[in-house]
Symmetry: D2
């Protein structure tokens, strides 16, 4: 069967709106049940605790194809309503998916059984059951190059670069984007493996053109800045969607603070929604109790929930949104700390 | 830390009520997203199609610790509202969990990190994060013996025995039970591996006492009866929670019909909610497309959803309940066929 | 692409021979490593302990598509060399796969990406990457009917029927079969869900023809017989490949013995090779420590290994074979107990 | 139960030696079987093809806790025998685990059920069933700081820094290390998320002390260098252990080359050993066929094997080692390209 590109890129992925359904009764029922429903309910209660704890800075960690799957609006709501204060993410989510959509491009409903050879010929990229027009992605790559070209040569943290991306969307954005929303709310976004994204392509092109006058993305600076936030926060809570580098990176700030001579407490709260398990010893699925042995996550208020993010993240976010504890939270605007420094 | 039995068996598991929350807006959003949320939405639409198809007999397959986890009331609602016509289940769900609760016993909220040695000393059985008083289970075992003792010697299908259990609850029941509800609605319940349950204990005791005058559970008769239902149904749809023996057994009826010389169609619709995957070649995780090669499940209206039942079964059931297509469905009362035969 | 049946059923699955490679050095290395390699090594050492414990009866539990995948010869070697004393299995392994091959039929190397619609038209059944000629399977179904037809009416345990299948192969077998080998060695094989197999088809046909003069498969009798073996064994060890009904059934014998008034000890040793995990509360993936809370499996000498059976079962079996502890083991010939009774 | 630190850190993890057992007969048997054993055999054959293809540059990708689990010696053998030409890894494997051992420290056999609170008090870090003395890790952190302090200020690729680490071990090393071995053989090692490791701690300390005179780790430079290798290779093959950032990063080089105006072919061969699956749409478990739609991996000579690395990587590596095709391979010494440039 021959595909037609237009036919394949017809139905756009739409982002779920947590304001339009109230998960509180469901989660309250889950709390009286067992297995992952109860684990999910417990994680909702822990998130509630974080939101009510005035001393707690909340760090959202993102890994997996979350925005392409329709979860962008959730992240935007969390930002808008002061429900998180910092984001640590993979590059793909921030650049290839969110910034990409901010530029006006879309993800499309596809199907798993597609013939990948034919898709390639049509320049359509597949993520499980989702399609992307590769031509759009190339525009996204080149936009990051354009942003890099406009910057003063030097070593930047990914946070600084992503802030520039938000600024770019402020002027040129065509659709909702959490990068843009974070820019407005001065919320720092860190990508510890930033080159591993569409921005990597743009930056490689930038460096190969500008040579000595190019910018660099210094991941050590990222680590330094995130540690500074940790040091300046009385307590911290982690809301982790998936594992990967963001999970490891943010946990490590406790140790980094210690090395810098600051006695920072462990992360007081920690939630992870994941499909990974602990049995291969890899970090993505390692339990939060294991993290306690490393002195990174406190025990007692931590919870792993085993499930796929597109189903369970909306429930958790809707619960917390409708509980309205965020109404009493103050915005932190951590990006301002760094603005004042430079 | 020493446990105290009373302390450990304090908080009862409560069963979720799908009437109390409406999953339609959530599922409609999921349908426009990706990954398992969209798979779940698609399975909801297929279940809707089954309910609207007047020629379709709907078979519910149950595996895993569903009732102990708080999903009993869902199954009761599906029965009450003519949303299913036949049940195929593991013995543990039917006897150890549902009938057990019908006798007035409970499951309790426990925790995964419990010391299993101490639990054993206290006669507390653990299922992941749930506790059971083993003394209660022993009463359940003995009740099945009592039922067997009251029956005329001979070979019975599990369906016949479970019907007797429903009758027992009609007189002696102390709490809601889907075995009881199915008894009232003449819905057949099959357990192809019936001895592999609390009833097995009772029946072993029964046989060892009664010897020649005991009853037997003939699993061939089960297969014959279920095939008869298949043969008498124009079309069939499968709603499978978990895999295991029920999944295999119900799929096999198509072949069994064929062997009996009846040209029964493949199952027209099929949904499976599961955490298993296909990579070890075991049946529980085998795709429904694979079942198509066997001539068991038709292609086109089948869907696997990868997720844990306590989270996703309530969403699917609530969606179908609130769609109200069941209002036009007629009850099948298949148990009556067999009553008339005997 | 159109398939041709002959082309698709060209290359036979061949069964691995544990005598032809020595896994001892590999397992000894694994023992000094981590994660699943060390878990596998530990399970090998526990199996060794079972083989050296003169009071220990070893029960092999089988679930998943093991024989179609090339593991038949391993089971045969375990039987031949007195490395196991009892088998509890799913019906599919015993009838559709092993007995099927004993009749001279084969499984074929296939591929996952096959078009299942076309396979169905060609009467080819697929198990992941393996093909079966459905015509051969139908012969297998009918052979079980023939065996049933030849038996005196009455209620039989699956063990008795499978013993008859072994007898049939003794006369008519065309290829190696563990059902046949167990027949020779008087090793009982139990299938608690026996109808859920190719034999189910034959038996349904048998009963629909013979009506009052037919045989029944009484799964309670299975449970009673297996419990009798448990009661007659000083100690027991479980070697479980996969989970499902066999795992539950064999564990339950401890409780069944208790109910019959016999104070049987818990299973002293227990190994499970599985891909399932505990997070959905289902039995297949429940930990052996959880089984300890139920008083079924002793703690200390139990081990779960997370891995796929085709890779890790050959390593475990080869290790035990080459260690040669089985040379001092005596055969138990449990089938003789039951012969004498009847 | 109170632990004693000395008791807990008693038994060192030992690294498996693929020269000491020959996996060829096992893999040849696996090739005639099904499921993951056959997938593993197929991946071995593909790796063989890579080794025999004179135009093929082989890139090893590493993610997960591989060295702490006893797989270090395998990587060293692959380097020594010209079986790989480039390494892309997580920072933890390179710094916290391999370089750490090169400094003379060890990983220890631990256990999963350890009390993590007590471990933390004893400064023992746990990875599933493995223990680490946190004091040793701190020395490792500080050693990376010392190396950074000794370098000329500027922006470096992780490859350059890791080369310095190899140089450090050349003088000060106390035990085998693949970082050291790669240094000797001029094999480039890339860590796209380098700060996410013990080196991150050292570098944060370094930057906070040296401020303007510090070094930066420019991950764009990594991407540029790896792309340069891709561009300079006629064909490429990927041997991926785990997923994560290394998998994504190395696949992206095809696109990066394209953006730089070079028409580089897709990766011709690709193998991934992983426990992840595709169902959550995350990259770690995405199929290699999906990568084909992106134009990154060619179809035909790609294979996913689902299994845990400690069990299956030794089998694959031993097979390839004993096949001896590497004897005809020439060393590539890619680090020399970059030396000549600078």
């Amino acid at each position: 069967m021959k595909y037609n590109k237009k036919e394949l890129l017809k139905t756009k992925i739409e982002h779920i709106d947590i304001k339009k359904f109230n998960a509180i009764p469901l989660i309250d029922s889950f709390d009286r049940m067992a297995f992952q429903s109860r684990n999910l309910a417990r994680s909702c209660k822990i998130y509630e605790k974080m939101l009510n704890d005035k001393d707690c800075v909340i760090i959202l960690c993102l890994a997996g194809s979350l925005v392409s799957a329709g979860l962008k609006k959730i992240i935007i709501e969390l930002i808008k309503n002061n429900m998180i204060d910092v984001i640590v993410s993979t590059g793909a989510i921030v650049v290839d998916q969110d910034f990409f959509e901010g530029l006006g491009f879309n993800h499309y409903k596809g199907f798993v059984s597609a013939d990948d050879n034919q898709l390639r010929e049509l320049m359509i990229d597949r993520i499980y059951d989702t399609f992307i027009d590769e031509k759009d992605l190339r525009v996204c790559d080149m936009t990051t190059k354009k942003i890099a070209d406009s910057m003063k040569p030097g070593a930047y943290s990914s946070r600084e670069f992503i802030n520039k991306m938000g600024e770019y969307l402020e002027k040129n954005g065509k659709a909702e984007s959490f990068v843009h929303e974070a820019y407005i709310k001065d919320i720092p976004i860190f990508c510890p493996a930033f080159s591993d994204s569409s921005a990597g392509f743009g930056l490689v092109f930038h460096q190969s053109e500008k040579r000595d006058k190019s910018i660099a993305i210094d991941s050590v600076k990222d680590f330094r800045e995130l540690t500074e936030i940790k040091v300046n926060s009385k307590d911290t809570g982690l809301l982790m969607i998936g594992g990967g580098v963001p999970k490891n990176f943010v946990q490590d700030t406790v140790v980094a603070a210690d090395i810098l001579g600051v006695d920072a407490p462990m992360h007081k709260y920690a939630i992870q929604l994941t499909v990974a398990d602990e049995r291969d010893g890899a970090l993505s699925g390692s339990t939060l109790k294991e993290a306690n042995s490393w002195g990174k996550v406190d025990s007692g208020l931590e919870q792993m929930v085993y499930g796929e993010a597109t189903v369970i993240f909306p429930l958790l976010a809707s619960y917390a949104y409708h509980k309205k504890s965020w109404k009493n939270r103050k915005e932190k605007r951590f990006n301002k700390i760094f603005k004042e420094q430079s």
